[in-house]
Symmetry: C2
Subunit: 108 residues, 2 copies
């Protein structure tokens, strides 16, 4: 996908989160994630091999890091760098509107 609009063709109310790869090289993968109220299942954590720079561009979400007490609320424009193997989970995403993320997964 060489050009397009990130805010178009957003599936509405999808049962699962939708991941779309926008760009991929040996060093990184850039993807769009569309959430429709989904969250990481209770008791589960993401533990990723790659670093992830992620920005929320639409909607809202609650992001939790292992060892932290408070859930961080992400609003449009908020970005965060999640180092590889930093365990985290998405506590919630907006139940009313779709939540759109742009994620850059990479190795050093």
């Amino acid at each position: 996908m060489k050009e397009g609009n990130l805010f178009s063709e957003i599936p509405d109310g999808a049962v699962k989160e939708v991941f779309t790869t926008l760009l991929k090289t040996g060093a990184f993968t850039l993807e769009r994630i569309v959430s429709s109220g989904q969250a990481t299942p209770p008791g589960q954590w993401w533990d990723q091999e790659t670093h992830e720079w992620v920005i929320l561009l639409k909607g809202r979400a609650g992001l939790m890091f292992e060892g932290e007490e408070e859930v961080r609320t992400l609003q449009p424009g908020d970005f965060v760098l999640i180092p590889a193997h930093r365990k985290h989970r998405v506590e919630w995403t907006d139940a009313v509107q779709t939540t759109l993320w742009l994620a850059l997964h990479y190795r050093e």
Copy 2:
């Protein structure tokens, strides 16, 4: 800058475009660009050593590629991949509001 909000601390009506590096590795540089009506000077072209995946997130802009007859109008969410050495210029950016871009410069 490990976390923040891409839409905050936007300089308003700056004389020059403002470039902020968000993330940099040996393989890529991720940067925010804020334009306030600037354009590439007449007769000049960008000719870059790296590929650039760029998305416009706020405002509007006109992007021209060498050899093409029409200026492409970019609106929020529009992204485009500009291969290295593909000559291009920004014909105009929104004169009323700031224009915000997220650019990923990379080598294969």
